[in-house]
Amino acid sequence: MIDAISKLGRSAARRLSRLGALARFGFHALRAAPALTPAGRRVALRVALTQVRFTALNAVGLVVLLSSILSFLVISQAVREFGRLGVTDLIGTLMVIAIVRELGPLITALAVAGRSGTAIAAELATNQVLGEVRALEAMGIDPKQYLVLPRFAGSVVSMFALLVVFDVVAIGAGFVAATFNHMAGDRYAQIVLQSLTARDVWLTVAKALATGVIVGIVPSYFGLSVRRAPTEIPVATSRATVTSIVGIFLSCALLR
């Protein structure tokens, strides 16, 4: 019994310690930003733009697909079922709360974590194993400034952009689904707009920020935590993905 409790305690302590290390890593990465020289800022900006291209631009198709299928299915079902019960006004609430505010950030963040988070973790782990991180330090380049900060900024910007795409496409797909199911388009637009409040917008923005931070920092931390063995790369990537997913769910649950 004592053994079991002690094992549980050790495991909890290990997880807490990793959480602390992650927070410290994120803090140090952010603290490296003001120290960037103008020249360093230009280089970091170029890396960040590449990250945005990969994380946001190349993922637009995936997000459009997920958003349109989800919204079309949910609104199609809702129009039929709510219509039978005579509560079609609730479609607006369903669209805003369930899709725009809750599922939008969650699904977008999961797509970004699965697509770009794994890539960031694997890339930085490879940088570490091939001695590139050490070479950067030897050249007088802070790896946090060159490798972590641009990926962090790129992830946050990408999350915002993709979330806007997700929500716009979801509302559009909902419109199509409503008209397919014999609901007037202007009525759909009216009840969705009536249901949308400033709080929904701020919560969505807060979730985009929180999940963007998670997708930018967690994979970078696990990627750079490998030592020299190539066999550590898949382990780091897997840990980064699992931790990001847990973090995304927790942050979406906490921001309500």
Partner: protein, 225 residues
């Protein structure tokens, strides 16, 4: 005059080996050779403050780089050229961008000035034709040439090279050493150079002022070739 690079009582390799002490005089090219387990591969990291020795200290221009605050440490390292074992080129950048990276990040020069300097460097190490290739698309000699161009991008007075000639022909090795030396002055080479590794080609021995081999009894100076 103090040596640009010196190691004082640095513990290398196994515990029972003699501490390593060496001063690399200005304008000299010095090689330290040793087996893989001799700790010879750690000298560059100790000098640049990338790692700390268990005992003793390494100074560059009278400064222990590892003792400097983070920002000063990074800035100070730009005064030293470093070619790590395995080159350390970034795989997602072309050879040209690898050479340009330290200049873009660490200098206030205008982009066209950096481009100009990079072109000159790439031509000087004769890798201009392969400049747009990524490291994985280039051969070992091209990668080494690009890495040497990157190490000397800031025109440093001191260059540290780890296993710089492994896998190269004697001709290429001699040519690259001449490039790193940066020309001749009355006192010797324009740059001070430390080379570490397991072995050196015979043609290189003739261009090196002092060669040491690490043994359990300490560093033994080898006879000039």
């Amino acid at each position: 005059m103090t040596a640009p690079l010196s190691f004082e009582g640095v513990r290398l390799g196994a515990r029972d080996t003699e501490p390593f002490t060496l001063a690399v005089p200005e304008h000299h090219t010095v090689a330290v050779l040793g087996d893989e387990d001799s700790g010879v591969g750690t000298l560059g990291g100790y000098a640049l403050g990338l790692e700390r020795p268990a005992a003793g200290r390494a100074t560059v221009f009278d400064v222990v780089i590892a003792d400097l605050p983070q920002l000063e440490r990074l800035a100070f390292r730009r005064r030293v050229g470093y070619l790590p074992a395995g080159e350390g080129l970034l795989q997602n950048l072309s050879l040209r961008d690898n050479v340009a990276l330290p200049l873009r990040f660490g200098s206030d020069a205008a982009p066209h000035e950096i481009d100009g300097r990079v072109s000159v460097m790439l031509t000087a190490v004769r890798v201009a034709a392969a400049a747009q290739r990524r490291p994985a698309q280039a051969n070992e000699e091209e990668r080494r040439r690009a890495a040497i161009a990157r190490a000397t991008a800031f025109d440093p007075a001191l260059v540290i090279m780890e296993q710089p000639f492994d896998g190269l022909t004697a001709r290429a090795a001699a040519e690259l050493l001449e490039f790193v030396r940066g020309g001749e002055t009355a006192e010797g080479a324009r740059r001070t150079i430390l080379i570490t590794g397991q072995e050196l080609p015979a043609v290189i021995h003739r261009r090196i002022e002092r060669t040491y081999r690490l043994t359990r009894a300490g560093a033994l100076e080898l006879e000039p070739a």
